[in-house]
Symmetry: C2
Subunit: 380 residues, 2 copies
């Protein structure tokens, strides 16, 4: 928590791709942009690159600040920087915004070159597999053949897993944190409620709200409030808010408990800054990812072609992606005699723990990453 | 599950109360109606009465059918009837719809005698304490001084607990099932999301939608979908639906997984039959109930005046009202040297388990209820 070594002021870059990208849905993206940032220096052999895959509401701004007075560093700044667990003195770190996003990469809110208007509902549904393919093309553009590591939490962890499946030769290490080999029915149910809140918002207009000059703010707000419940553990909610009242009880539907104030604030903030169509697509990507499906449900078989070494991390209080789900990945890797380290971190913060600078957790990441030998290509 | 001994065809009755009821909020209901049903026969001593307290979406139709071809018996029909665990050959069972409800008792959708229009937003917020007071008046009207037992699950269990606190002389036995001495922050957070979905529905009109000829169906649908997730365990959702697809994947926001179909169906059904204003009030009653609050958070102190004997039942997979919450009640009762039996039932169905005819669960209820000696007033 005392790490103040920032990567400093950073700036996003845009990569344009004019080669068509076939998507899992059958759609083809004729051209697209990916916005990305990098931290640290790519070595001459281009062998020290680490790709960060973001989760549902993340983006390419992973570390650093945009100006001297910027109070809000990138979303995983506590993890990445000179001397930090992911040490930018050693590694060249790449963060990007995934396709379908709303932070600069091609997505529903960006302009469809065919129509000159925002894509809206016409932007195809993208999958974890599509993202990994698009990320591979970004690496091609940067001249990076093999990643020293791919790192991600939650939905980001699914992308890491997919990297090891789709591009076994291109990944030395995969750090898969607070993730799962697929969603449970309960996970998918929460996603469905969130999506229905957005889609049934009268200002959704079938996804083409841009041209109506409105946004489905109510629905997105409900979706985010619900999300926040699943990111936190019951215990940490109890510690943080408990049954604390804002004031004396008013017997009303206004804010009575501090918890309510927190949820409404989080919902309002998100609804004013995130794109609803992106939210829909991110949750669908989560729903669909299931690498074992093509192998009759056999995850071990699905992972049999991987060549990476793995660090799998889970958190005891994470009920969204519970330790048991991480252990399914570990088990499947062990079935294949892959090199895998597994850490189950005792943490109170639930799913959100993967973003927190917990000392034990960061020590595990630091230790694992410090042992990676740059340029030492894996052999299985 | 093989019990077919129905109480048969039943009919609701209405009790009108013209004596003003002061509410915890400070409001006073000048007059009100309670709709109720009874099953079995009240004995000459009026000492065999059992009151059933309903949960969030329940009502007075607890057992029996309304006509020979009625396919949908009361909501706890598997538990109540001749020869069933709550045996109507022995007990006189009363079910009522709580104040603020939408099934015949005075509530937001009923006519406000002062205005001649539906109450809407003007109907006050009612609490568990208010309900128990109104239930006591119904018993007065029926000439019942003491209940042989009060029985309820979830929010209904909170009413049972409140009965033993507010009317210690009037309750011989309290059966408190799948309940808690108050809500956790997480419980309250789910309620808040549900309420916000309703309140921000453009057709809510501040609660006065009746006069606009609309209902906030979208919001109520979202609230109910969310509720269903919390009533079921992750495991039972997994068993029932898992990741089963409706058809081949279409890469769309339409129904792809069976779980989605189930949730939408449940949401639609409920939104077409339940009143949104009632839903708001039921969740607030849940939020506010906290008998320990007036005793500095000391539940043992809050329960020190109770004289009833208790059966507390919880279910292992209930993450909404977990066994740990039931054990808090048990602990507080033991601190007071109350007579208390506790059963933690191994069940897969989550919170919904309290409504299921699980053999072990029903055997516990049957055994406890069979030992109740009618007319044998409690001594502490």
């Amino acid at each position: 928590m005392s790490e103040n070594n920032s990567v400093g002021i950073v700036a996003p870059q845009i990569a344009h791709f004019s080669e068509a990208l076939p998507l899992k849905s059958g759609h083809v993206l004729a051209q697209y942009d990916l916005v990305y940032e990098t931290y640290g220096t790519l070595n001459a052999e281009k062998s020290n690159a680490v790709l960060i895959c973001h989760a549902l509401s993340g983006n390419h701004h992973v570390a650093g600040i945009y100006s001297q007075n910027d109070k809000y560093p990138g979303w995983w700044d506590n993890f990445i920087g000179p001397g930090k667990p992911l040490d930018t003195n050693k590694f060249f770190v790449i963060g990007l915004n995934n396709l379908g996003g709303c932070h600069g990469s091609s997505g529903p809110s960006s302009i469809n070159p065919d129509s000159g208007k925002p894509w809206g509902s016409a932007f195809p549904i993208v999958t974890v597999e599509d993202w990994v393919n698009s990320q591979a093309r970004l690496l091609d553009k940067l001249g990076i053949t093999q990643l020293a590591a791919v790192v991600g939490g939650s939905l980001g962890g699914m992308q890491c897993l997919q990297w090891t499946i789709a591009y076994p030769e291109r990944v030395q290490h995969a750090l898969i944190i607070a993730s799962a080999p697929n969603l449970t029915a309960q996970n998918m149910a929460f996603n469905e409620v969130a999506r229905q809140a957005i889609i049934t918002d009268p200002e959704f207009h079938g996804g083409d709200y841009y041209e109506h000059g409105v946004v489905p703010r109510r629905g997105l707000r409900i979706a985010r409030m619900l999300g926040h419940i699943t990111y936190l553990s019951d215990d940490v909610m109890g510690e943080k808010f408990g049954r604390k009242l804002k004031d004396t009880i008013k017997y009303s539907f206004d804010v009575e408990f501090e918890m309510e104030s927190y949820l409404r604030y989080q919902g309002d903030k998100f609804a004013g800054s995130f794109d609803a169509n992106t939210y829909l697509r991110m949750t669908r990507a989560l729903d669909y990812y299931d690498p074992a499906l093509a192998f009759g449900g056999d995850l071990s078989l699905a992972l049999s072609s991987t060549k990476a070494e793995f660090l799998i991390v889970s958190f005891t209080s994470d009920w969204r992606f519970s330790p048991a789900r991480s252990r399914e990945i570990v088990k499947a890797l062990l079935d294949n005699e892959s090199k895998v380290s597994y850490a189950e971190v005792t943490a109170a913060h639930g799913h959100d723990a993967f973003l927190m600078p917990d000392a034990h957790y960061h020590a595990i990441l630091r230790s694992y990453l410090s042992k990676i030998q740059i340029g030492n290509h894996h052999e299985k």
